[in-house]
Amino acid sequence: MIQPADFLTLVLILLSAIVAGRLLAPYIVKIFTHAPSRLDRFLDPVEKAIYRLLGVAPSHGMGWREYFLSALIVNIFQMILAFIIFVFQGGLPLNPQGFPGFSLDLAFMQVISFGTNTNLQHYNGEGVCNQLPNCYPLNNTPGLSYLSQMTAVQFLQFTSATTGICVAAAMIRGFVANSRDMGNFYTDFVRSLTRLFLPLCLIAALIFVGLGVPQTLNGYRIVSTLEGSTQTILVGPVASLVSIMQLGTNGGGYYGANSAYPFQNPNPASDIFQIFLMLLIPTALCFVYGQMLGKKKEARPILWGAYSLFAIDLLIAFIPNYTLSRGMEARFGGFFSTFWTVVTTAVTTGSVNSSLFGNHPLVILSAFMGMLIQSSPGGKGVGVMYMVMYVVITVFIVGLMSGRTPEYLGMKINARDVKLVMLTFLVHPVIILVPTVLAYATGAASAIGVSTGSTGFTQIFYEFTSAAANNGSDFLGATGNTPFFNISTALVMLSGRFIPIGLLLALAGSMMNRRRTSEIGLRTDSATFTIVLVGSILLLVVLTFFPFLALGPILEFFQKRVNGF
């Protein structure tokens, strides 16, 4: 059970994220509605110069298909650039440790991982230490050069987060009454970068440095310890990466141990700030939804639905007693380790501040819930999109039950809409369950030494769930660096990212200019509807995944109960 002081800490962090999200929302709306802002004086000339350089007409409005295609093509080119950096880093500058380039399948998997906002990592960014804690000598195994950390990892972390928020804005435009088009992807992308991500990350990065996170281009420092042995201090451009990896709900760390590594997360203050950053924009987007629609009340089921599901995740995770256990850091203890695991999966960031192996099966079950639901409040942009998908499904179910034509925002929901949302929903089970089974059927799971039984099953199921949800936390880490896991997770991440985005943009496209009635049918901004929404989501997700959850964390829980912890 949770201690009172810890409960208060948790509530205060969540409240501050909600308040800050509410305050940030009007600013985000201005970015996408091109409303005048005080920043225009400085940023307008910069943005216009970029549009000229790109050769795009900012006033050109796109339909859903062109918006989706341009997002997809830009993302593909960005991944290709990062791929080149990963493969050739050995011969490129800013590589003080002289790390060799990545193998082709690892580079392929990693660019897709970062490009889809997933951030599964089958490598240790800092290299592999032979001997902990002194880390000397450092093995010459695939680590990342500073150039790769910057121009491949941080680069894709920025662009995938930006893409997420852009497609969400485009989808919302489809639902807005009387909108003529879904916007222009290039202007959305440039404006989100110059006005939202770059300035916020600059501030956040400097706060992190102040709290102790390194930011230097000098190579690793070798020192003689107090007792005279040799130690490698693994510094680098860490703070700039941490800012975007949390704010962009990416989650890919500078170090293999992610935010458990003291340089990436030095104290409880930096830990709380990282949790806050993860929650900030997904929460703000719930408000943005209502404000862009011009119906602020419609943000209620999105926000409170998300936070109710989040509360359920927290309830499950905090059933067992938590304490500083194996695989956790002393400065975070049991509470911050458990809280982090729930947050990072609820917003599908995927960063970790403890080893997942150290977590209780119920905490892992809660992590699964976050990743399977994907909108509590979910990742950057896509969390809101999934929540709207659940709203449409719920409207349809309620319509069936009451025998009325389902309506949302005064628009009739037709058969094609329902097909689109059901297809979107079904993508997830297919791309999680099929590869999990394949990993066992082909022997790929046993090849990397995953134990048989519920613990091993949890690890494999978690890997593909994390990949499909574009989360990125995992049990496998660098042991997953085999062709089977690199290629299978890459395909799962790609499908889990772009198929739902494409389908939901198509849905929004068909909503555009649909006739709206002013008569109020089903009220979707009420508390009753939110309760039905949360109930439907739980029912859909639990029914779909229960057999797999039962074989994994649930079975593990009962086995540990019988055998003792």
């Binding site: 002081a5 208060l8 800490t9 790109l54 050769g55 062109e66 295609l69 593909i76 080119f77 960005q78 290709i80 650039l81 230490c129 902990l132 804690p133 880390c135 910057m150 121009t151 941080q154 680069f155 920025f158 662009t159 930006t162 290039y186 992308f189 440039v190 970068l193 991500f197 770059l198 400097l206 440095v209 102040g210 709290l211 102790g212 996170v213 390194p214 930011q215 230097t216 020192v223 107090l226 007792e227 042995s229 130690q231 201090i233 693994l234 510094v235 451009p237 700039s240 141990a257 590594y261 003291p262 340089f263 409880p268 500083l324 695989g327 956790m328 850091e329 002393a330 400065r331 970790v352």
Partner: protein, 161 residues
């Protein structure tokens, strides 16, 4: 408009946007952060390097990264396989207090004095929040400086510069 036409029309701006965003987010941003960080917080930006004394510049590691202490006269960090990072620089307050009798017996420093040093170095709590922990390197440096003559006598190797 046809699909191929939409793809064709967007290819050139897409390549250019990819390059521009790479330069902006991957190069300009981290370099700007590095510049500001090195000016504003030089110590943290370079890895919170610990020095033996404030007057002498000998680096003895980083406050944020655990190091081996095999000397029973000093506080020991957690076994590296117990933490998530393998380099957990801190121990819990209880863990530190549990080591006091051993250090006191071997060095002859009164337990109360060692407890005082621990209490001066407790971190991680704020009002009613948090759980207390101490940084092992900070603790050991404080011990050595407060009881320099004892450590010079018992473990002269620590003072070789």
């Amino acid at each position: 408009m046809s699909l191929t036409k939409e793809i064709g029309r967007n290819s050139t701006p897409a390549i250019r946007l990819a390059v521009v965003s790479m330069l902006l987010c991957g190069l300009l941003f981290p370099l700007a952060v590095t510049g500001f960080a090195q000016v504003l917080f030089p110590s943290q930006a370079n890895g919170s390097i610990a020095h033996f004394t404030t007057s002498n510049s000998k680096a003895v590691g980083s406050y944020l990264i655990a190091q081996n202490f095999s000397d029973p006269l000093l506080f020991e960090p957690r076994n590296s396989s117990l933490s998530a990072s393998g380099v957990d620089p801190d121990i819990t307050l209880q863990d530190a207090i549990a080591q006091v009798p051993r250090i006191s017996n071997l060095t002859g420093i009164p337990q109360g004095d060692i407890n005082d040093i621990i209490n001066q170095n407790v971190e991680g709590t704020f009002w009613i929040f948090g759980s207390p922990y101490v940084n092992v390197l900070r603790l050991n440096l404080a011990l050595i400086h407060n009881f320099q003559t004892i450590y010079e006598q018992k473990d002269p190797g620590l003072f070789v510069l």
